[in-house]
């Protein structure tokens, strides 16, 4: 047995105690889960998507369980930049855990403006640029599925922030490697994927879509093998780090992402199922490294044998 393995990682200059983050939108802004999860134990906390002003989000119903996952169409309800900084940053600054803010805008200008505004905010470790939300009419996924729009947007935001910039790619494209490469060239410091898969449920009695927004995003174990494939492709295409997510419930699920090329991972839906997931995943990764005599996570990243 080797000496204790080091499970710390550094992503885009952000130093994390371990490679397991919580995914945007599944952990609120921090306080919500603080009774149940030790925030100091997280690799990083990624907060729910923030745009410029407070945003209402979609009508209800916003969520429905399906086989192997859930579909959500929250629609990026949020307090806006100032609301977030005032209401939540004092709480988040108490912890020794990097805070990554997931940001979005209705158009390029709003994206730029939001990013710029966070440059002055204290205690923010990085920005996750959500160009892949299936639940908003403008912004979101429209940017993430058009190669040129995605690259332009990332380039523009890059100029407006000195924080590490982590575009979150859309999963529903045939060649995600092209998007990964374009993002890297446009100045991304890391990439994050996958966001939810566009999906829909119809109530056969009323013949109406179950979600008020009609379409939502599928998350949870159902999407895990799709996510592993997309992360594998993206990681091969770039030299910046990739953060893998989608359906992680166990350390094994997380390790697949790491072996496929992810330098860190994020737990989303499983926080709802079992708030103890993140701790279980961290412990499981540590145990795996020990068992396989690996000194650090980096020895495992992208170590897939083909």
């Amino acid at each position: 047995m080797s000496k204790q393995s080091d499970i710390g990682v550094e992503i885009a200059g952000i130093r994390m105690k371990n490679p397991v983050m919580v995914a945007s939108g599944t952990f609120g802004y921090g306080p919500e889960y603080a009774d149940l999860v030790d925030i100091n134990g997280l690799g990083a906390i990624v907060v729910k998507g923030i745009c410029l002003e407070a945003c209402e989000g979609n009508d209800v119903p916003r969520m429905i369980e399906v086989r192997g996952g859930l579909i959500n169409a929250i629609g990026l309800q949020g307090p806006g930049v100032d609301g977030f900084v005032e209401s939540y940053m004092p709480f988040l600054r108490q912890f020794d855990t990097p805070v990554i803010v997931n940001i979005w805008g209705r158009d390029e200008e709003e994206y730029e403006e939001v990013a710029a505004r966070f440059d002055d905010a204290e205690g923010i470790a990085g920005l996750e640029l959500n160009i892949s939300c299936p639940n908003v009419k403008s912004g979101g996924i429209a940017f993430g599925t058009d190669l040129k729009m995605a690259a332009d947007l990332i380039g523009r935001v890059r100029k407006r922030t000195s924080l590490p910039l982590i575009p979150k790619l859309a999963p529903n494209v045939p060649q995600v490697g092209l998007f990964a490469k374009a993002a890297e060239e446009a100045g991304a410091d890391a990439l994050s994927l996958i966001n939810t898969l566009p999906a829909m449920v119809i109530d056969i009695e009323t013949r109406r879509p179950v979600l008020a927004n009609r379409v939502g995003g599928l998350s949870g174990p159902a999407i895990h093998p799709v996510a592993v494939k997309q992360v594998w492709e993206a990681a091969q295409a770039v030299s910046i780090p990739v953060i893998g997510m989608g359906g992680i419930e166990t350390a094994e699920d997380a390790l697949e992402f790491i072996i496929a090329g992810a330098a860190a991972v994020a737990v989303g839906t499983a926080n709802f199922t079992d708030p103890g997931t993140v701790v279980r995943v961290i412990d499981g990764i540590a145990a795996y490294l020990q068992r396989h005599d690996l000194a650090s996570v980096s020895e495992l990243v992208g170590s897939i044998r083909e």
């Binding site: 939108g25 599944t26 952990f27 609120g28 919500e32 889960y33 009774d35 149940l36 729910k48 209402e56 989000g57 209800v60 119903p61 916003r62 969520m63 429905i64 369980e65 086989r67 192997g68 996952g69 859930l70 959500n72 929250i74 309800q77 949870g220 174990p221 839906t269 499983a270 926080n271 709802f272 199922t273 079992d274 708030p275 103890g276």
Partner: protein, 260 residues
């Protein structure tokens, strides 16, 4: 709130299609107040990612129980929970009913499993009042004995007339309100949306206070996912989404902005 691994003490049919699941859950039981709920992970429900919320029916010493009706996949799987099994739950969650605003003339209004939190409430206060229990048939009328043994007056309505008065619970309520001369009633209601709206509208029109326990599909149960929101009017008149799991599930009728 806590995650507690509770042990199943008993699990029995208590009438109609309703089952009571009694758990040893000292931490949650101790902290619970009427109107709060637990978010339960259904055992052996592979492929299911969401917990299921249930009002706390009883909480005394180290025991906590819920009363549930089988309506879908999750509750169907719950039927197979056996004595001795471990059930993972998060609780107690939500705000609970405000008990100090109860006044001298409380009216509890329950539909279906809505009796559960109201029965808990009935035993936690000193005042006694009237309980209206409505359901489709006699099989949906539960907990009558709970209330009566505590000294509450029970009025039953069923839509098919198989027990109590025939008709909707609101008809019985209207008749009763017309007879109330003294202290204005304060309502505590839990049940289907339609019933809650009807009770709320009456209360608002009459200038009475009504505490309604809302029932929304939930994700996290702790305020993080924003799935369970309801439009609520603030003190300044502005309307904003509030989280039923965290800011509720109990809201005063006059601030609820119902969908059209």
């Amino acid at each position: 709130m806590q995650i507690e691994k509770a042990t199943v003490k008993t699990h029995d049919l208590v009438g109609g299609d309703y089952r009571e699941l009694v758990l040893t859950a000292p931490v949650t039981a101790k902290a619970a107040v009427p109107g709060q709920f637990v978010h339960l992970r259904v055992p052996r429900l592979d492929g299911s990612v969401l917990r299921r919320p249930f009002s706390i029916y009883r909480a005394r010493d180290d025991r906590l129980s819920i009363l549930y009706k089988t309506v879908g996949r999750g509750t169907r799987a719950m039927e197979t929970i056996a004595v001795g099994d471990t059930v993972d739950m998060i609780g107690p969650l939500g705000n609970g009913f405000p008990l100090d605003a109860m006044g001298e003339n409380p009216a509890l209004v329950a539909g279906g499993y809505g009796v559960a939190p109201l029965s808990f409430l009935a035993g936690e206060v000193d005042v006694r009042g009237t309980v209206f229990i409505g359901g489709a048939t006699a099989r949906d009328i539960l907990c009558v004995g709970d209330f009566e043994s505590l000294g509450w007056t029970v009025r039953i309505t069923t839509e098919d007339g198989s027990l109590g008065e025939k008709g909707l619970v609101t008809a019985a309520l209207d008749a009763w309100v017309a007879t109330q001369q003294g202290t204005p009633p304060v309502y505590y209601a839990c049940g289907p949306d339609g019933m809650l709206r009807a009770v709320g509208q009456r209360a608002v029109a009459a200038g009475h206070t009504a505490w309604l326990s809302l029932d929304k599909h939930m994700g996290c149960g702790v305020g993080a996912c924003l799935a369970c929101v309801q439009k609520i009017r603030g003190a300044d008149g502005s309307v904003a989404w509030k989280r039923v799991c965290k800011d509720g599930p109990i809201f005063e009728a006059s601030v609820i902005e119902w969908d059209a």
